[in-house]
């Protein structure tokens, strides 16, 4: 074998590594005969010792405390990032739930309001009347006293209902609105027949939410997908607190 071929074996021997017995024996025999390789072997052993001592001098070396602090801070920030979305998602679920409950409650209130308003057949009868539901119509004087008497009871009942409805709306926070010049709305549809009530001297408009199906009652068009959506409406209440007319705010 040439000296060059012994070099890896010599280095492994000098490093204290395990070497195959036959190779070790051959290499040691070669070292006995070759002064150059023997010198290289001594050098490598000295180098191994030097490296060992140098490594020991570094054994206690480590990163400074600031590195650990920075890393722990980064860990905490990352942990926050992982948990924050879960918290946000939980809050979002709560928010959606509360919003849905609020909408349902409002729709329920509006539905009750609508049920307490005058019967639908009366509205149908008056749907094409002019927008001003108050005042004495020309035919009022032609009404017989019997008709007036016959409707008095009904009127009193309706009056009680409408007043109750108004109180209910006010109690449940239904917002009263002032008619805005910029707001787009339908015309007022009368809810009572002409001459059925005392003339309108003063009134109040109350904003309520009603189910969209209320539009059908008045013969207004509505698409199937919107039938369950609440619509906003303004109720015109007379000085006696009775609902006289309604209009819808799209």
């Amino acid at each position: 074998m040439k000296c060059q071929e012994f070099e890896p074996i010599i280095i492994n021997l000098a490093r204290g590594q395990l070497v195959e017995a036959a190779s070790r024996e051959t290499a040691l025999n070669h070292l006995d005969r070759c002064a150059r390789c023997a010198s290289a072997f001594d050098e490598q052993r000295a180098l191994t010792a030097g490296i060992r001592v140098a490594a020991e001098s570094l054994a206690n070396q480590g990163a400074s405390a600031r590195v650990e602090e920075a890393l722990l801070q980064a860990f905490r920030e990352q942990a926050m990032q992982f948990t924050a979305p879960e918290v946000r998602l939980r809050w979002r679920r709560w928010t959606f739930g509360l919003a849905a409950a609020a909408i349902l409650l409002l729709a329920l209130l509006a539905g009750m309001d609508w049920l307490k308003s005058p019967p639908a057949n009366q509205k149908r009868e008056t749907v094409n009347l002019p927008a001003t539901p108050s005042g004495e119509g020309p035919g009022q004087k032609q009404n017989s006293q019997a008709q007036i008497e016959g409707r008095r009871d009904q009127k009193q009942k309706m009056g009680r209902k409408s007043a109750g409805s108004r109180r209910l709306s006010e109690r449940r926070g239904v917002r009263q609105s002032v008619e805005s010049a910029n707001e787009i709305a339908t015309r007022f549809y009368p809810l009572v027949e002409e001459g059925e009530m005392s003339p309108l001297e003063s009134g109040m408009i109350v904003r309520v939410e009603a189910p969209a199906s209320a539009l059908i009652t008045l013969g207004l068009p509505i698409t199937a997908e919107n039938i369950n959506r609440p619509v906003q409406a303004d109720l015109l209440l007379g000085q006696d607190g009775l609902a006289r007319a309604i209009r819808f705010v799209p």
Partner: protein
Amino acid sequence: MTPSDDELLRLMRAGAEEAFGALYHRHQGRVFRFALLMSGCSATADDVTQEVFLALLRESRHYDPALGTLSTWLYGIARKQVLRFLRRNQSFIQLGDEADDEEPAPVRYLISQDNPLNELTRSEMAGAVRQAVLALPARYREVVVLCDFQEMSYAEAAQALDCSVGTISSRLNRARALLARRLRDVGKTPQSSLDTDPRRCLA
């Protein structure tokens, strides 16, 4: 019973700060010393250690236990960070990765000439060995640091450096031959006192 690296890693991913702390204390010393021996600069070694454990924090999903130990994975990251540092500072340290396999950069480039402690430093063998290691081309230096200073097996070093065991063996032989020649030329005998700490940041 001491938990394994993989167990600590699982706990760390679940958000246990203690597990991350345990992994840090278990591995930071070796990573730091590897970076220190490779760069010759304790500030750089600090930075590299920080980057390595940040990678553990943020990219531990890239670690595959089937491909090697956590330790070798961390060394792999440390090596990339150190090589990035060395590339950035080529004007200060002659790396000789491309052409000068024959001879490492002279030690005089690595020791400030105006340092009055130079003579004392050179008289300390540990310092001389470390300076000679620093003067090796990076690809030989990393093998000496892993196999001789950190006492890794050839197989582990091959995983950390992403090369074959044969490459590790041949590079180590070459590196040690260069080291021996360097120390002989400087006139130091490795048997001398080696308890010096000649850290000096050259970056």
